[in-house]
Subunit: 162 residues, 2 copies
Amino acid sequence: MELIAVPLTPEAFAPYGDVIAPGLGERMAINEGTTERFHDLAKVDVTGGYTLVNIFRGQPRPRPIAIRMMERHPLGSQAFVPMRGQDYLIVVARAGKTIEPGELHAFSAEGGVGVNYHAGTWHHPLLALESNSDFLVIDRGGPGDNLDEFWFPDNWPAISLR
Amino acid sequence: MELIAVPLTPEAFAPYGDVIAPGLGERMAINEGTTERFHDLAKVDVTGGYTLVNIFRGQPRPRPIAIRMMERHPLGSQAFVPMRGQDYLIVVARAGKTIEPGELHAFSAEGGVGVNYHAGTWHHPLLALESNSDFLVIDRGGPGDNLDEFWFPDNWPAISLR
């Protein structure tokens, strides 16, 4: 079974989280007109904890990419923003107890655009397309178990992303 | 009076805030070894409010840059991370009630590296060096007046940054 990545848009991604891109949100001219602020682009959810800022340095996987598991963070959101304008891929499924193969959706994200997975959204770990691909990651620190992994059972078809 | 920008390092920037760069913080291998996490690189302070994620699109100013004011956010931190690996400049002064000309310090930041101004740190508004220069900005939303501006008095020397 092959997943087809479609272009990332705020509308298509809305069931999973926020798109972080210039041109979205409320626009404000600031700094004597030298800067445009696109305001409040992601719902940062760190219930019972605190906001962490991290860098993830990703390496590409062999193509087509074998999709064999998904993960979720039940207690908080997690945002990924490329730091060098690089493209990347996304695989998601709606928040919920279980996933079926037909519920996986893939997006291709252009450099310069980030995403914020809402709490509980199933997502594949970072799918970088270049070597040493740095992403700013905003997520939750604090007490509690904030990671669930779901490894696909043997009776699922092989799933790949080109 | 001319400010000389020195290279941004975590040690030199420590009185003002955090440097957000790969290689800093606790390192963790994650995602089956395909990703390295540099963990908890910035102290996000949103006391009495909540974390905002925004994009600032900056335009360059004429060089040398006339430094005529500074601002601070007394209620929270503010992080700037370039989204396309672009270089930028920074002018800061330590948190405190007033600033003197000799307390201004300038840094040159390489693309791929962000900064997080701690609450109260005096800083110049975004000094982008390229047109349409996008930065991810993490700051505080919520009640209260979170912006102080300090316009330099007439008896100060003219201050510029090359």
